[in-house]
Structures are given as C-alpha cells and as structure tokens.
C-alpha cells in the first residue's frame, strides 16, 4: 500500500494504492502527517488503485476528515471501486466525504 502525496493547485493530491488493511493503516499513520499538516486545504484522495479498505483504513480516512473539518479544509475521495463504495455506504460514513 502506498500514499503518494503531492502539492497541487494550492491543495494536496494524494494517490492511494494497494490494500489498506490493518498493518498498512498502522504504517500509513506516519505517512499521512504531511496531509494532516495541510488539512486547512483541499485534499483529494485518488483511490483509482485502492483495492481494499479495512476498518483501520476507514479510521485513517476519518482522521484526515476530522482534521480537515477542524481546520476548515475539505476531503474529496475520487474513483473508489464499487466494493469500497459499499463499505462507505454500509457503515453510514458515505455522506461525511465528498465522493466522486
């Protein structure tokens, strides 16, 4: 699993790929530090190559969203596959994010 973070158009463009399972989410907690630091901006998470998300992965996304909400930023999730869409919907978290 990788988090590729770039600054783009005054915001953050993050490409998330692979399987966001529990070990990957633990590792990613350190990798997302630059995202949290820039949570006052627009954060776009491109999930085209994200294959799977676990509860720990959801918690990671929620952490980013919470930080953005407190700093006045915004989180956009792009191109998630139908399985992951289902996870966001079944857990009731879908409307917390701008998913497109």
């Amino acid at each position: 699993m990788t988090f590729d973070i770039k600054e783009q158009n005054g915001g953050m463009a993050v490409t998330v790929s692979g399987r966001l399972d529990t070990p990957a989410a633990v590792k990613a907690q350190q990798e997302i530090a630059p995202i949290l630091e820039n949570a006052d901006k627009e954060i776009v998470l491109d999930c085209t190559d994200l294959e799977y998300i676990s509860s720990s992965g959801l918690r990671l996304f929620l952490t980013i969203r919470k930080e953005a909400a407190s700093k006045g930023g915004k989180v956009i999730i792009e191109h998630i596959n139908d399985e992951i869409k289902k996870v966001f919907m079944m857990t009731g978290f879908y409307n917390l994010f701008e998913i497109r």
Partner: protein, 364 residues
C-alpha cells in the same frame, strides 16, 4: 494645522480637544472592551457595535454652529460615542439595563427618543445615554480625568438604525430641517419599521414559546400530539431513539459507533409522510427487524468494526422505501438527500437493491 475660521473661544476648545485626544482614545478602548465582554457574558447577539471619536473637522463644524453653548470641552458629550445596534426591541432595553450596571449615567442629559413621539407621530427612535466610566472599573492615577469624560451610548434596533442612517444620508440632521412633503414620507416609513420591529419581537417570542411547549410534549412522550419539524426532531433525538437498533447492528461485528449528525434525515422522514413523532415511532417499530436483517446481510461477512450512528436510521429508511415500492428511484432520492446530489447515488442504489433482493421483506 487647519484653520476652520473659528472665533477665539472655538479655537481654545479645539486646542483642548487636540491635547486630550489620547485620553479619548484610551476611553474608547476601555469602554469598547467592557461592553464587548459584558454583552458576551449575557449571551446577547448583536447586529453590530461601533464606536468613534469625533473627527476634528466635524467638531470644528459643531463649534462653528453653536460654540458659545459650550464653556468647556467637557460640555460636549458626544466627542466619544458608541452605538449598539440590536435585532430586537427588547434587546435595546437589555443593553440599557446592562449599561446602567456598568457606567454612571448622567440622567438629566440622557434621552429616550422612543418616548418623545406623540401617539400619532413617528420618527427617530433611539435610546441615548450620557455616561462616565466609574473608577472601580478603570482607574489610572496618571490620567484621573478619564473618569470625568462624558460619552454618548446610543442604542437602537437594526430597523431604527436603517431609518436614521437613510434620513442622515438624505442630508437632514433633524426632522425639523426636513421639507414637509418628505417629512410625511419619512414618518410613514418610521411607522412601518416600528410595526416591523414589533412584529419581529412577537414572532421571536412565539417561536421560543412553541419550542418550549414542543420540547415538553416530546419529553412527556405524547408523540401523537407532536408535529415533526426541526425543533421537535432535535428534541426527540436527545432521547436517542435509534440507539437500540444501532447497538444491535454494532453487536454484529463488535463495532464501535461514531457520533453523527442525524438532522440531515429530517427531509427524508418528511418525504416519507411521517407527520408526527408518533409516526416516527411506528416507523422504527415496524421496520426495526428488517433494518437489522439488512445490516446483518451487509456486515455479517465482514470484519468492519467501526460504524456511524447514522447506520440504523439509514437502514430503516432503505427498508421503508423498498417496502413501499419506491424502488431504485426512491433510494436515489434518499441518497440525494443525505449525501447531496451525486451521480454515484445511482450506483449506491443498485448496490443496495442487490443486497436487499436476498432478504425476506423483499420477497414476501
């Protein structure tokens, strides 16, 4: 220094003003801070608060017009002025009462313009207090004169302010100066705004009263008498009506429940023609088992151990809509309402329809 063509007396008063300007600036800072903090303490929301020290040119104009009226600068009470603009009539009185507890009021020179009109005339409405800053609130031995300076506190509603600002903008400082044909038009508007101010106050009181009564009815459990609206639904949510279902769903995977805002579902419940809280209670009761079965089907084969508190209500709505035969269109409408209008909502509707097709309530 600019020459305003004043006589010697006027020039002396202007010179005194220049020398005392730092004192006025200090007074402005102290008084503004005091009022801001006290108003915040009583939780009163203002339209605005503004203060100013008279510009030198404006003071010179005043001295030119009626300089002989003032024997010293301290006779001019509006060199520092502060204006508080409220939304409602009653709040003007609250601010006045607050000012009385903070400042020493020079009553003979204070005026309530609201009470100066005859019963059949309308015009400038504002409450003006002439105040000084008491020593127990602020005292600097190096500038004891600061507690002697009189200043003007103006209090009025936003509508009263609009009227007075427009009259001032037209260029007349008093009603006496206004030509008679415009005087009548302005008076008519003042009457209209006075009526509007009273109406806004009446509406606020009625809404507050309604909220109290609705909350009482909700808490007493007389749900059939409580119409479903923003106020009653908020009170109802305090009773945590979806907790039982949420906890049952969370138990499927021993999940933790995250706090969530449920007010976004109010338009959905209204769309489903739930008119009273008794309807909402029946809606929960009649769909509880099927909503749980849907969650069991969705989550039972996963290890997801984190859920939003919206999960129970979301499933109740899905089940209700499908039982009512609303189908995919109904689900898209549901997701448009809670997620915002997005193309993705059609995909979600298809996913839910597929899941629900395996459950007994869809196959009866």
């Amino acid at each position: 220094m600019e020459n305003y063509g004043l006589d010697l007396h006027g020039e002396m008063l202007l010179e005194e003003f220049r020398a005392k300007l730092p004192l006025y600036e200090k007074l402005q800072q102290v008084v503004s801070n005091l009022l801001t903090n006290r108003i915040k303490d009583i939780g009163l929301e203002l339209n605005s608060m503004e203060s100013r020290i008279k510009a030198e040119k404006s003071l010179a104009g005043k001295l030119h017009r009626k300089g002989q009226k003032y024997s010293s600068l301290s006779d001019i009470t509006d060199i520092f002025g502060i204006r508080i603009i409220t939304f409602y009539n009653e709040d003007v009185d609250r601010i006045a009462s607050l000012a009385e507890t903070i400042f020493d009021i020079d009553w003979p020179n204070s005026v309530d313009k609201r009470k100066q009109h005859k019963f059949d005339s309308f015009g400038y409405n504002s409450l003006h207090y002439i105040c000084t800053l008491p020593k127990h609130l602020y005292y600097d031995p190096s500038v004891p004169e600061i507690n002697e300076i009189r200043f003007e506190l103006q209090m009025r509603t936003a509508l009263q302010h609009v009227w007075s600002a427009i009259q001032h903008d037209i260029g007349y400082k008093s009603e006496i100066e206004t030509p008679i044909e415009y005087h009548r038009s302005l008076s008519r508007l003042a009457g209209l705004l006075e009526l509007a101010d009273n109406e806004f106050s009446r509406i606020r009181t009625a809404i507050t009263d309604y909220r109290r009564r609705a909350q009482k009815l909700v808490m007493s459990g007389k749900f059939d008498k409580v119409e479903l609206d923003g106020d009653t639904f908020r009170s109802y949510l305090q009773m945590r009506p979806f907790d039982k279902l949420n906890q049952k769903i969370a138990a499927i995977t021993q999940a933790e429940l995250q706090n969530a805002e449920l007010m976004t579902y109010l338009p959905v419940l209204k769309m489903m023609k739930l008119d009273t809280l008794a309807d909402v209670e029946r809606f929960i009761h009649d769909n509880f088992d099927d909503a749980y079965q849907l969650a069991l089907y969705q989550l039972g084969s996963t290890d997801i151990d984190i859920l939003s508190e919206t999960v129970g209500l979301q499933n109740l709505c899905i089940v209700y809509l499908l039982k009512m035969g609303s189908g995919k269109a109904g689900l898209i409408h549901l997701f448009n309402t809670i997620n915002g209008k997005r193309e993705q909502n059609a995909v979600l509707a298809d996913l839910v329809l597929e899941q629900a097709s395996h459950l007994s309530f869809m196959n009866k």
